[in-house]
């Protein structure tokens, strides 16, 4: 296996606030290879954005407690100086955001913003930077870029603005593009165009992409691998195909059930995930998903599940769930045919005390003592 | 005698407005001023020596506001008269030495008053010359013209009622018209024929700036304009003149900014008693902040302040600085008139009870305390003719208005109430008595104190707060409004004559039922009236004695609570030998000098 472009190991990002310690990211590990795409999926507050911002060095506030390691292209980013991080940001790693209107400075022409981005990493003349900006705007499909370069952000449509953002992000040939909900604020038709564009550019420019979204539908087409995050942890990780075909975490099931899919029967109801994301200050004990999990047992509230290989066909597939593997598979088997969780529960018996093998060892005094 | 004989000094500085905004008679947001000399009263500085002064130097006066007018025919405020007094000479004047005496200035000697008190003849000194560009001797015709122009709309003289001359127009004339009652038999004589037998008070009024000579041939083109532009072309006859150019235009007068007085080269000291030590007097008329300018005067050199400093500075002056101020009586009294036509105030014993129990000290405190003036024991103010005759500071000796009950004597009040038929010593009626006052301090504060004094004796007071202006004109001066007590009243002299202080305010025959009434208590005592009629014909010491007696009689009637005899504190720099003008209660430029 070649050395990955980005390797995140045991990354923990906590923020000290007046209300308490916010455990935004709580020990996650993932890696992205050159030119490849990783999807990070989760609800807002799951830590997916914070982890990416940390990669960018944008969470280095006074109240942030960061540990673990982030290795990018052979460099340790966590220990890099602020000045070094500045050269990485917008240089080798670029980022685009959810709302392209609010993410562009309303008072500056888009050309100036692109030029600024280019010139802050390359010692080139304004004219050269401008040529580069026009080139990039053309590349992202902005019509008549030579003229539109002197327009202000508010003069563009949402999709065009996101194209501008993408042009700005890619202007310095980054090795990694982090796209944080790049389509959420856009119309459905435009969403597809933007995703296509990202994919196209990724291939052309050989850029690795981390696609952050709450919408599994978005990553389905685009990414090779998917990490599902919940409450600051990765709860399931695997190849995209695996995640869609044989998901093993009840949260992933919930995500899948809550999006319309072409491969499920038409009359099948969309089932939203019950409850709300947990507070990151007072996380639930045991499996932090347990308050929302339809298959919860008392024991799940005491043991914190680790991310373990599922032992399935995909060797990279890992899950953090306390349900025994066979129970998980029977449950999914029911769910994928269109049954609701309630219906599935009628058919599959959830063992009260039998946990997944990795968790079995933890059920001793430690748990009892809690 | 219906006109207010009041003089008003506009005080426009903010601090002065808030601290001194006066509740004085009929004035609109103004503080009154005027009068007398400097020896009695607990003054610091005392009476400066008027004989020994060093010649030369430039004095700067910091004033909060401009003079009203430089034109001697138009000015009616003390600030204007202060400048005019240095610049122009009047028939008579009042020197710093004796504030009760009028002295001849342009006049050769005392006025000759005919036996029927209807003719006044004045001889004038030779050798008095107008300043450039007129440069000729002053004649009696110049004074005649000054009177005639006073009565025109163009000039707008403001105190015509003091001069009931035969042939004087009843309303202002368009353009200057001759007055038949003024004749000039020769260049050194002027004769006034009067409509009534009022020659004595007429003669006393000849100190007013109306008697400043105005050269007709020079002033005519200016007076032809409406309004007259003589105000910026005034020609001097006194020791000083406002810097002017060849045409007489006053280049030294910048309206609202400064007035620059320099020596009048044509002034001959031999014709004038005044020493005129200073070479130049610069008046800054926009020294807006009284706190700041007071401090500047105290800390600086060659500076004087135009009028009272703010209360805080006053305290500092009296207690710390000590030798840089002069106190002069303002020549007036502040009073709470009691409407003698309203029951039970028609009962003299009720009024005496009110006076007896009244805490005058507290009322004065509401105005700023002891620095603002003395506590009266009668009406004629200190150093005014008749003041001593009426009992001086100790008063005429009535127990209900004496030094002993300055803070009120409730036992004495109760005894008077018993005499009035209220055996409990308190008033037992349940009706409300209307008291009107200004809606701003100190008028408001002092009236609140006063109302409390009445309530001590069982009177239920209804205090009505109205705008400053209408306190007088719409309420207190209108008998039909049945105001029981006026909460913001004051009476200040225009010139030195006791009649002008007591007649409009207490003579029964001056009560004006339809408004504009100045006899606020509506006192109608035939004995007082008869005494006044008789006294108005007297002259000299007899006159002062008679009016002093009248003051006693009025006080015996207890028609009002006088609670402050105002005084003015004048501030100067250390190196200034300041001499106050007793008539204006302001610094006198012609006696003041620099060490």
């Amino acid at each position: 296996m070649p050395e990955p472009l980005l390797e995140v190991k045991d990354l923990t990002v906590h923020f000290e606030t007046e209300d308490g310690l916010v455990q935004a990211v709580d020990g996650i590990s993932y890696s992205v290879e050159r030119g490849k795409t990783l999807g990070i999926v989760g609800e807002s507050g799951s830590g997916k954005s914070v982890s990416s911002m940390t990669v960018m060095g944008l969470t280095r506030a006074g109240n942030a407690r960061i540990s673990g390691s982030i290795t990018f292209d052979g460099r340790d980013l966590l220990s890099a100086s602020d000045a070094d991080m500045r050269t990485v940001r917008g240089g080798d790693i670029a980022m685009i955001f959810q709302d392209p209107l609010s993410s562009l400075h309303p008072f500056y022409k888009i050309g100036d913003q692109l030029i600024e981005a280019h010139r802050s990493h390359n010692a080139v003349s304004k004219a050269k930077a401008r040529d580069r900006a026009v080139e990039m705007l053309g590349l992202v499909g902005l019509p008549d870029p030579r003229r539109r370069i002197d327009s202000y952000p508010h003069e563009f449509s949402g999709g065009m603005r996101q194209r501008v953002m993408i042009a700005m992000a890619l202007i310095n040939d980054p090795k990694l593009l982090i796209a944080d909900e790049p389509t959420t604020a856009l119309d459905v038709t435009v969403q597809a165009q933007i995703l296509d564009l990202i994919q196209k550019l990724q291939t052309e420019l050989d850029t690795a992409v981390v696609m952050i979204t709450h919408d599994l539908g978005v990553v389905a087409e685009v990414t090779e691998e998917i990490a599902v995050m919940y409450a600051g942890r990765i709860v399931e990780y695997g190849k995209s195909d695996t995640i869609f075909a044989a998901p093993e975490h009840p949260y992933t099931w919930g995500l899948l059930k809550s999006i319309p899919r072409l491969d499920t029967p038409r009359d099948q109801e969309l089932v939203p995930i019950f409850g709300r994301p947990p507070s990151l200050i007072n996380k639930p004990s045991g499996c932090s998903f347990h308050p929302r999990c339809p298959y919860v047992r008392e024991a799940h509230k005491k043991v914190d599940p680790a991310l373990e290989p599922t032992g399935g066909a995909d060797p990279s597939h890992k899950v953090a769930c306390l349900l025994p593997a066979e129970t998980r598979r029977s449950l999914w088997a029911g769910l994928r045919t269109g049954d609701t969780p309630d219906e599935v529960l009628q058919e599959v018996e959830i063992p009260a005390n039998k946990l997944s093998p990795s968790a079995e060892g933890q059920t001793g005094e430690e748990v009892a003592g809690q | 005698m219906s006109g207010n004989r009041l003089r008003f000094l506009v005080v426009s500085s903010l601090a002065a407005l808030t601290l001194f905004a006066a509740a004085c008679g009929g004035s609109s947001s103004s503080s009154s001023s005027t009068s007398s000399k400097t020896n009695a009263t607990p003054a610091g500085g005392g009476t400066p020596d008027t004989t020994a002064g060093k010649k030369g130097g430039k004095l700067t006066m910091l004033a909060a506001s401009d003079v009203d007018y430089l034109d001697p025919g138009h000015t009616y405020y003390t600030a204007g008269e202060q400048v005019d007094g240095a610049m122009g000479r009047t028939l008579y004047t009042i020197g710093p030495k004796d504030p009760t005496k009028t002295l001849p200035d342009i006049a050769e000697g005392d006025p000759q008053i005919s036996a029927d008190k209807k003719t006044v003849t004045v001889k004038i000194k030779p050798g008095i010359k107008f300043s450039p560009p007129v440069n000729r001797a002053v004649t009696s015709k110049d004074i005649k013209y000054a009177f005639e122009r006073f009565f025109s709309v163009n000039v707008g003289g403001q105190y015509a009622s003091y001069f009931p001359i035969v042939g004087a127009p009843k309303s202002p004339t368009k353009g200057v018209k001759p007055i038949s009652g003024i004749t000039t038999p020769d260049d050194q004589t002027i004769v006034f024929q009067l409509q009534d037998a009022v020659a004595v008070s007429f003669a006393a009024a000849l100190v007013m700036p109306i008697t400043t000579p105005v050269p007709e041939e020079y002033a005519k083109p200016f007076d032809a304009k409406n309004p007259s532009t003589y105000n910026t072309h005034v020609v001097a006859s006194g020791p000083y003149m406002v810097k002017n150019d060849a045409t007489g235009n006053l280049v030294g007068y910048k309206a609202g900014k400064s007035i620059d007085l320099v020596r009048n080269p044509n002034w001959d000291p031999k014709t004038d008693d005044r020493p005129a030590y200073l070479d130049e007097i610069f008046i800054q008329t926009n020294a807006s902040d009284a706190n700041v300018s007071s401090k500047q005067v105290i800390a600086g050199n060659n500076l004087i302040l135009d009028t009272n400093p703010p209360a805080a500075i006053l305290k500092e002056l009296v207690t710390k600085v000590k030798d840089q101020y002069t106190t002069v009586p303002s020549g007036g009294f502040r009073w709470f008139p009691i409407n003698t036509t309203i029951k039970p105030f028609d009962n003299i014993n009720v009024r005496k009870a009110i006076l007896a129990g009244f805490d005058r000290n507290a009322a004065r405190l509401a105005r700023g305390g002891k620095f603002t003036g003395d506590l009266p024991t009668h009406f004629l103010p200190p150093q005014f003719p008749g003041f001593a005759e009426a009992g001086g500071f100790d008063g005429p000796g009535y127990d209900f208005l004496s030094k002993k009950n300055e803070s009120g004597d409730m036992a004495l009040a109760a005894s008077y109430m018993k005499k009035a038929g209220y055996p409990s010593g308190k008033y037992t009626g349940s009706e409300q008595f209307l008291m009107v006052t200004a809606n701003a301090d100190p008028g408001k504060a002092q009236a609140e104190v006063a109302a409390a004094q009445f309530e001590k004796l069982g009177f239920k007071m209804k205090l009505r707060l109205v705008p400053q202006d209408s306190t007088y004109t719409e309420w207190c001066q209108v008998p039909a409004k049945k105001v029981a007590v006026c909460g913001a009243a004051g009476w200040f002299k225009d010139f030195i004559d006791p009649q002008s202080m007591l007649e409009p305010t207490f003579a029964g025959y001056t009560i004006a039922k339809n408004g504009g009434n100045n006899n606020l208590p509506q006192l109608n005592d035939p004995k007082v009236d008869a005494a006044m009629k008789a006294a108005s014909l007297l002259e000299g010491d007899a006159r002062n004695k008679a009016w002093g007696e009248i003051d006693k009689m009025i006080t015996a009637d207890a028609p009002a609570i006088p609670f402050v005899w105002d005084k003015t504190t004048l501030v100067r720099s250390k190196n200034v030998v300041g001499v106050a003008n007793p008539y204006l209660a302001l610094w006198d430029f012609t006696y003041t000098s620099i060490k």
């Binding site: 700005m168 | 426009s12 903010l14 709309v153 403001q158 309004p227 105000n231």
Partner: protein, 318 residues
């Protein structure tokens, strides 16, 4: 844009008409406001009053007086003559306007710059000792009355009555000649007038900047790898300062009507004192003149601000 400016100017004219009419009416409704009475001295005879009314044209119908008044303003910018000292109001106002402008623009420069610097430092160092010190100081400056502050500054620093004789004090401006001397004489008044404004602007800027710094486009700027300095100054401040420029314009416009207290304490012959004195004396002509100048100042400055805003914020188009 041109059409907008023309439209705005027309509105300004209308506004000025309304303002003159309102001052006119208020003055006539006020009981003490009869200028003839004010001019006539004490207890005038009815004849005197009538004569003065005639002279001042006060016996004409109100609409005619108003019409003539407005017509004179339009033709000659003539506000008539002061009722108290008979000077041309136009001359009075214009002789004082430069003083007020000098005072206000100098102070505005000081308060704007210091407000922006203090606000920025405070926002960037949010929650720190400096932030607390600066904002605490700002609160004091806002709460302190200008008049009191003026007196204290004079008692402390003026070269005549001060404890530490450092700077020219009250009245120095009037006797100063030449721009440099005058500027020197204005240092204390500038600081006093600017203090409260600077404090308000600092607080305003601080909260604006904090808000701006949490905007998405600031995150974008950081993600672009810009230096923090550039992020704050070029991206943050640029947005945070825009609303303050509007406020600044209006504040300057309003102060064209005079900074009465500062002008009073420091004895500066400005429009404010002219207006104040005129109000005290019931001098309608001068009150009108200064009011129109004030209204004019506000109207023009708000127009300037709106036009400026279009340049500052490209989203705004007229």
């Amino acid at each position: 844009m041109a059409a907008y400016i023309v439209r705005r100017l027309l509105w300004t004219v209308l506004l000025l008409l309304v303002i003159t009419a309102v001052t006119f009416l208020i003055f006539y409704v006020l009981p003490s406001g009869d200028p003839a009475k004010l001019r006539a001295g004490r207890s005038p005879s009815p004849e005197t009053l009538a004569a003065i009314r005639n002279q001042l044209g006060l016996d004409k119908p109100l609409y005619q007086q108003y019409g003539e008044y407005v017509w004179n303003i339009v033709r000659h910018f003539d506000f008539g003559n002061s009722y108290t000292n008979n000077q041309e109001v136009r001359t009075l106002v214009f002789s004082r306007l430069p003083n007020t402008i000098f005072l206000v623009l100098g102070a505005a420069t000081i308060w704007f710059l210091s407000g922006v610097v203090i606000g920025t430092v405070s926002a960037v160092a949010r929650g720190s000792f400096w932030d607390r010190l600066l904002m605490g100081g700002a609160l004091v400056a806002i709460s302190a009355p200008v008049y009191w502050m003026g007196l204290v500054s004079l008692y402390l620093f003026s070269d005549d009555i001060g404890k530490f004789k450092l700077l020219p004090g009250s009245g120095a401006y009037q006797s100063a000649h030449g721009l440099i001397d005058k500027g020197h004489a204005l240092i204390l008044p500038w600081l006093v007038l600017a203090a409260a404004f600077a404090a308000i602007y600092a607080r305003l800027l601080r909260s604006n900047l904090l808000e701006t710094l949490s905007e998405d486009y600031i995150r974008t700027a950081r993600a672009k790898g810009l230096s923090e300095r550039r992020v704050v100054l070029r991206h943050g401040l640029r947005s945070a300062i825009t609303p303050i420029v509007t406020v600044l314009g209006l504040d300057i416009g309003i102060l064209m009507g005079g900074a009465i207290l500062t002008e009073t304490v420091f004895n500066i012959d400005g429009v404010g004192r002219l207006a104040f004195d005129a109000i005290q004396r019931g001098d309608l002509a001068t009150i009108q003149g200064t009011t129109v100048v004030l209204a004019f100042g506000v109207a023009i400055m708000s127009l300037v601000v709106d036009i400026l805003y279009a340049f500052l914020d490209p989203r705004v188009r007229y």
